[in-house]
């Protein structure tokens, strides 16, 4: 029973961070939100007892993708312009 409550809170956090990625106009804040999303997703994989998938998600999502997003934001613009 209580494991279902834990999973429900993690899944609500996933939805909240995904909405935050969608809403942020500051692209650095969106990249940080993506890091949080990736960490919560791997915690969910862990709760479903798939530790190898969780390791892959941590390596790709939290470590590599955030760093590559930072490199891309450095090379271009930091804020999203011209959109509503």
């Amino acid at each position: 029973m209580i494991e279902e409550i834990v999973q429900a809170v993690v899944l609500l956090g996933l939805v909240a961070s995904a909405v935050a990625i969608w809403r942020f106009k500051d692209l650095l804040a969106a990249a940080v939100s993506f890091g949080v999303f990736s960490f919560l997703l791997s915690l969910e994989f862990y709760l479903l007892q798939a530790p190898d998938v969780a390791i892959a998600e941590a390596g790709i999502g939290a470590g590599l993708t955030t760093a590559i997003y930072i490199v891309a934001i450095r090379a271009t613009e930091r804020t999203e312009e011209g959109s509503a």
């Binding site: 804040a29 890091g35 949080v36």
Partner: protein, 86 residues
């Protein structure tokens, strides 16, 4: 005896949700980076508690990998905010 590990994980997950409030409401980028770091550390603690709850030694290795990778990610963002990224 009732096992206390899963309720402890529930407490940590609620704390992660409170850190998400700071992520959504933080006015500046460093506030959000600190929220990311808090979420990373609480996730590692939750994973170690779940490794005890499930009784699997191999699950602790995932937490070790996590601790390293979260440090690298936060360090990269901090170097960008500091302005001295090569």
């Amino acid at each position: 005896m009732i096992e206390p590990w899963i309720p402890a994980v529930l407490v940590l997950v609620v704390l992660i949700a409170l850190a998400l409030v700071r992520l959504a409401a933080g006015p500046t980028a460093p506030d959000r980076v600190v929220a990311l770091d808090v979420v990373n550390t609480l996730t590692i603690a939750a994973m170690i508690l779940l490794a005890i709850a499930y009784g699997e030694v191999i699950f602790v290795d995932v937490a070790i990998v996590y601790a390293l990778l979260s440090f690298v990610g936060t360090l990269y963002i901090a170097k960008y905010l500091g302005g001295d990224l090569p």
